[in-house]
Symmetry: C2
Subunit: 360 residues, 2 copies
């Protein structure tokens, strides 16, 4: 009974007294069908509440109406923002999306791609960052080559080293650099960074951009002031606590992600440090709520929904031979109250080395 209870095109055709071919044509409008027959078919379909079997259609047409979207974590606000754009774009193009959440497991990302290839999706959107892992990149490259051979488009958000895919590239490096310059401009010379998992390209880029801009100003971050943590509120909390445990000597802390910054803010508070009084704090992404914290967080704003929309647009554009297309999306430094000129009085925890700037 399971398989027989579905209304098929044949049922509609019989009900309308035409062949299934005609019914198909009437429903899809691929060829002209005599008006009265079309009416009969449409009426029959309506009466029987016919819904075409998408699998049969996909099989016969050798293509589907689906796109695959792979992200690192659906419940992360960063992806939630991107997904919003992706879903809106999908709806506009009458596509349905198959969603995969890898929870930052590269192996799972790979298996999702192959699963989606099995689904013969029109396109696969890689909305997570790439992974800095040679072996993985190799495997992924093979997998994507198979997709390309099958005509499945690939588009990505973020840098995917060695993958040569069309992508929407948030300017993580430049954004972090701009942020660094803004913070230097506030008078800071002693920085700490809370980074994410080092295998993720976005993390690498943000850290690199930040350090480069500092280096240009002759400022270096002490290795022990760079702490690694998970991309989560609690990851940020732990990283900040670790930083404090190591001895916070910075006047300004950059968390590579807003969510981490939220955790860091809580940790600083918990340790009796005021932000920005004792230490300035900045994040990256400009996820919602971040501007409603006290103090509102300085960050680098990324137009998440637009990124989602654009990566979909990229995926829908036909493949070009040769070079892959790259659309850069700049980040905007948003200075809010969580950053200010460095405190005059050195922190207890900060080692008493001379401040080089004139205090604010």
């Amino acid at each position: 009974m399971d398989k027989w209870s579905q209304v098929t095109l044949n049922d509609v055709a019989r009900e309308a007294g035409v062949s299934s071919a005609t019914a198909s044509r009437a429903l899809n409008g691929t060829t002209r069908v005599r008006a009265d027959l079309r009416e009969r078919v449409l009426a029959a379909a309506e009466r029987l509440a016919y819904t075409p079997n998408a699998h049969a259609q996909a099989l016969a047409r050798a293509s589907s109406q689906a796109v695959g979207v792979i992200c690192h974590d659906v419940s992360d606000p960063y992806f939630a923002g991107i997904s919003g754009g992706v879903m809106r774009a999908a709806a506009e193009h009458d596509l349905h999306v198959i969603m995969g959440s890898t929870f930052r497991d590269p192996a799972r990302e790979l298996s999702y791609v192959s699963m989606m290839r099995g689904q013969r999706v029109r396109a696969i959107l890689l909305t997570g960052s790439g992974f800095e892992d040679r072996a993985w990149q190799g495997a992924m490259r093979e997998e994507l080559a198979r997709c390309a051979a099958a005509g499945t488009r690939i588009a990505a958000v973020s840098r995917h080293r060695g993958l040569r895919v069309d992508s929407v590239l948030p300017e993580n490096r430049a954004g972090a650099a701009a942020l660094a310059r803004a913070l230097l401009g506030l008078g800071h010379r002693d920085f700490a960074v809370l980074t994410g998992p080092p295998a993720i390209t976005t993390v690498v880029d943000r850290l690199a951009g930040f350090q480069e801009a500092l280096a240009d100003a002759g400022v270096r971050i002490a290795p022990d002031q760079i702490v690694e943590g998970a991309f989560s509120r609690d990851g940020g909390h732990r990283a900040a606590s670790e930083l404090i445990a190591r001895g916070l000597r910075a006047t300004c802390v950059f968390a590579s992600t807003d969510i981490m910054a939220v955790g860091a803010l809580a940790a600083f508070r918990g340790h009796g440090l005021s932000v920005p009084g004792d230490v300035s704090l900045a994040g990256f992404d400009d996820i919602p709520v971040i501007g409603d914290l006290t103090p509102p967080l300085t960050t680098v704003a990324l137009p998440l929904e637009e990124i989602g929309r654009r990566v979909m647009a990229l995926a829908l554009r036909p493949a070009t031979a040769g070079r892959s297309r790259v659309e850069r999306v700049p980040g905007t430094v948003v200075l809010r109250a969580s950053t200010s000129a460095p405190a005059v009085r050195p922190l207890r925890e900060r080692s008493p080395r001379p401040l080089t700037e004139t205090p604010g």
Copy 2:
């Protein structure tokens, strides 16, 4: 070239020197296959990077490995939380999910269901609230009946009036009531509520529960102190501003959603009102970050990820004849610093009617 470049089961069979039937059996392990043949098939599949065409499989098996998930807004933290649980559960069961975001358009919800029926998904998860609209409910009921006839399971989060679906039911009413009692306990007698769109069952339930508990204590909310707004940060901001414009006479404001509460907090601040000094503020859901605001928001905590996991479990359990299954998920009142005893001095904006409680 588009359609020919995919490796098919036949290719694998030929490569392995067996029939496609044997190849299928070897790959799926449905029947015993001589060990050496199975090896050859597996090796061939590996060599050719064979991925079965999911559409052909679904067609032949008359069932797919997909479940459909329909939510109101993917980028809303509430759904992001639920989706997290859903995606994890899906991964555990080797299912892939087709995601639909209705952006709170009932018509779109309907069309997603029918689309997913076309996809012959195993189950459809309705993770958004129901709509209080007779016509819509009728249409939805028909649609769901068709799903049931086709063996597609349906499971929902929240109340869906007149739909009789298995569901995970956050106790919105009881939770809001418990919150109300807690606030009464703090000494409040004058309340205001920022509600969401009145067509949404969750909104109705939260408001009803809140009002009931107040009524039990002989407290009534003045009609002009109930303001409707969109389910978003800005919706909350606007609603709170409107409330202030009308003349805020309450000592305590309940926003039916945490995100709205965030906006409300900002609005109060913007108007020079301190929370909880001038007015206490509470939300509902306990979305992330909410506890990291200043002050941390009082709310009713819902185990979002668990809700997601459970609705999936419900969807995977075979249908029972007769009554629909309902799993209630209690909300936990989390009192944080955004609520306190009412201020002694009456607000400028508050009309000077006598406070009935002893302050403090």
